[in-house]
Symmetry: C2
Subunit: 332 residues, 2 copies
Amino acid sequence: MTQPDNASNDTVGSVHELAVLSRIFPLLPSASAALLGPGDDAAVLAAPDGRFVVTTDMMVHGPDFRFAWSTGHDLGWKAAATNLADVAAMGARPTGLVVAIAATRDTPVSLLEDIASGLRDACAELAPGCGVVGGDMSVSDTFTLAITAFGDLEGRAPVVRSGARVGDVVALCGDAGVAATGLRLLFDRGVDEHGTPDRSLADRLRAEHPDTVGAQLAPRPPISAGVAAALGGATAMLDVSDGLALDARRIAAASGINLDLHSELLGSDPEMALRGGEDHALLATFPANAPVAAGFRVIGAVTEGSGVTLDGEPVEGVLGWDPYAGWNGQAG
Amino acid sequence: MTQPDNASNDTVGSVHELAVLSRIFPLLPSASAALLGPGDDAAVLAAPDGRFVVTTDMMVHGPDFRFAWSTGHDLGWKAAATNLADVAAMGARPTGLVVAIAATRDTPVSLLEDIASGLRDACAELAPGCGVVGGDMSVSDTFTLAITAFGDLEGRAPVVRSGARVGDVVALCGDAGVAATGLRLLFDRGVDEHGTPDRSLADRLRAEHPDTVGAQLAPRPPISAGVAAALGGATAMLDVSDGLALDARRIAAASGINLDLHSELLGSDPEMALRGGEDHALLATFPANAPVAAGFRVIGAVTEGSGVTLDGEPVEGVLGWDPYAGWNGQAG
């Protein structure tokens, strides 16, 4: 039975859906573009441009996150940040999110509150004015969170992957390889002797390596740089989710050109920068005859050919993360 | 290993994500409002009205569907239909869907193809011009499908729940209690001696009772009636997903009135019509001084008070479906 004086013990399976929602709703960020918010069959969002940008992403316990490593706040933050990055990569300003959660019955309601707080804080810091306009809640054996994010192009053309031209410079805004360094630390030292993710080990690791582990668990992609890049004349752009080499190849394939990256511009660990994913930096190409947008740094050039080269040599080997690699969704 | 000549044995876990997507993409319906479709960080959809309607819904294997009862085509159809109904209930014309799927590793790729075909056929029949503009694919221990749907208001005000006025008539377009009759049949006779959903029993049941079981597994909500109701002056409207009594109470609460339903207008089984969910009919209120919109039939009147009455008497008992009721997500 629910104890009104002990709400911290409530779980999704022990209290009524309406009671759960009444605790979560006040925590969610409101969207300045919301003409009609949650509570009806659908929300109504302003699209002053006459178009809107939309992207969706599902995070599944096991392959995408583990509660032994991520707090609820981390999960809400990361879910917002990664979707906002996809909106930003089109050169759009994020306006709203809808959030569907399938929680296990033993999920504490307080964890859902933490997720809502993470969504709120990520929107406030990364995309002020963006908020949650609707959602859905279910129960499941596997904790799953699905976010759909919207953005406004403010009259500009979307910055797509296919616009890079020979002679452009290649530029990056944000980190490359930092989140992957954090993930490697977690897999190496955030697990117990059976390889199971362990909360106390992860907490200690995060205290010792806040930058890298924090970048993995709660990334801070440069959302406002997306609009800046569009205004600055970016010819192509994407969000680096699977690693620089793999995502650069996507621009190369869509544009029919080669991206030559320069190893001396990739920081102290060019290999990790090339192959490590989940930083959600923005990779863009700009005309060479003008400065790149504020916040971007040049890391290479667009050349004739097809694919990705490092100092003129093809990048070999496994480029990025395969979502079908083995995993155990129950562990951690 | 993948056998090119035996694609019917491929599973999500045995072939590369790109190979899966290359088989699904051609089956998905295209959206006439899509200015930029799948393949970039985000899609771009037209919103000529300067606003858009958005709703999201997650379907989880176990509480929301079971593959022993539903084909992939059924699941895709129902996921589209239920989300389109929420858009229609605002008085909007559906323009697009984004679809996120988390599949178990043993899911046949052919099942995903069937889901795509179900999405396509539902859009074509229920909302021509609406299509899939983006998506995401993951692996999970629990098969989960999340849909977000969009609609255009075409210059009209959204039809919300709070606009019903004393003196309006209450009208319904679509079935009430038919899908629940089908679900009752499935739970009574579509399970084996251990209560586990059984495919061959369900198939036989559906052949014997195509209307009711079909309404449960692949509902056909009256999507175009949503725009008709808005044009016809509906003062309030919603999609009946949890049963007439529970959803009527939502209009009553939002509008601060009472909805009095008339039992002789509820068909041969008023109790089932009142309490059975998942038909996704449209329940609306209209001014009494004009005919209700085409397709709607009067089932009651808006009166002073708060709540829902049947022939003037309060409706007692359990009104609708509780998503937190016990279930076994692994069975069937």
